[in-house]
């Protein structure tokens, strides 16, 4: 079974570690980490990913800008994108989904929320 490649874009090392810890429990994911939107874009251009998880509030390039740019790339028009963020207002969620995110999880999170969302999006 080919490992699925997942990109985690998050500027907080603590949060990044929690997400990676959760993802490693599901199956044989190949996980790549990025510190911000620009770092994330570099990695997306360097290799193909099957799933993207991103924060919104990050330095240099925020997650919404990243989502917008990813969705404008024909290579990534259908790749599931999960937002994991502190922004809890309904309008923030609506904006992210309108830009093309598939799921929106607000912090603080439990690993089970990440697992359930990823399983649902990747259909296993």
């Amino acid at each position: 079974m080919t490992a699925l490649k997942v990109l985690v874009v998050e500027d907080s090392p603590t949060m990044r570690q929690l997400i990676v810890f959760a993802l490693k429990r599901i199956r044989n994911f190949q996980i790549v980490e990025a510190n911000d939107g620009v770092d994330g874009l570099k990695k997306l251009n360097a290799e193909k990913f099957d799933l993207i998880l991103t924060d919104i509030n990050m330095p240099i390039m925020d997650g919404l800008k990243l989502v917008s740019m990813v969705r404008n790339d024909p290579n990534y028009s259908n790749v599931p994108i999960v937002i994991i963020t502190t922004e809890g207002a309904a309008e923030d969620r609506d904006r992210a989904l309108a830009l093309g995110a598939n799921a929106y999880i607000t912090k603080p999170i439990q690993t089970t929320q990440i697992l359930d969302t990823v399983r649902s999006l990747l259909k296993f």
């Binding site: 907080s12 603590t14 929690l18 502190t86 809890g88 912090k107 603080p108």
Partner: protein, 170 residues
């Protein structure tokens, strides 16, 4: 829940740099507890006052300097017990009367306190996971802060001694 506790503990003990330890404590409060406005005050043993050293969602200058035993914050530090406001309904930020105080302690020796003034909009109340995280922070954050300060002090002394040795051996 266990994952959150594990990651928090792992991160706190992953570095001996004082500023990095403070940053990790801030990240734990934001990402794992859901605090939006909060601060860290550390005890100055010479003055017996708690002085702000880091914060999120407000300016460091807005946080108070508090004597041990004074007000809600000082009392929590004196008792070593977590303080939770009776009800969060209608709470407006009062820097001397936070919603939550978590004394940072090594055994029974309190070295500082985390004070929380506001939660993220989607965080309606504290859960059992939060109480576990507060217990973890109380001990592990205190140890991490203490170790990092000790390490930087010993590095400074080592640097001074090395300087003298270099001077004497020239």
């Amino acid at each position: 829940m266990l994952a959150n506790l594990y990651i928090a503990s792992f991160q706190l003990h992953s570095t001996l740099d004082f500023k990095e330890v403070l940053q990790i404590i801030l990240e734990i409060n934001i990402n794992l507890i859901g605090a939006e406005e909060f601060g860290i005050l550390l005890l100055d043993e010479k003055t017996n006052r708690l002085e702000p050293v880091a914060c999120e969602g407000l300016e460091l200058g807005q946080l108070p300097s508090v004597g041990v035993g004074q007000g809600i914050i000082g009392e929590a530090v004196k008792s070593g017990e977590n303080y939770f406001i009776a009800t969060m309904d209608g709470y407006q930020r009062d820097v001397l009367a936070p919603m939550v105080c978590v004394p940072l302690k090594i055994k029974e020796h309190v070295i500082g306190v985390i004070v929380i003034y506001k939660l993220l909009v989607q965080k309606e109340q504290f859960t059992s996971v939060d109480h576990e995280l507060f217990s973890l922070l109380a001990g592990h954050a205190a140890t991490a802060i203490f170790s990092s300060r000790l390490y930087s002090e010993s590095e400074r002394k080592l640097s001074t001694i090395q300087g003298f040795i270099d001077l004497l051996t020239k």
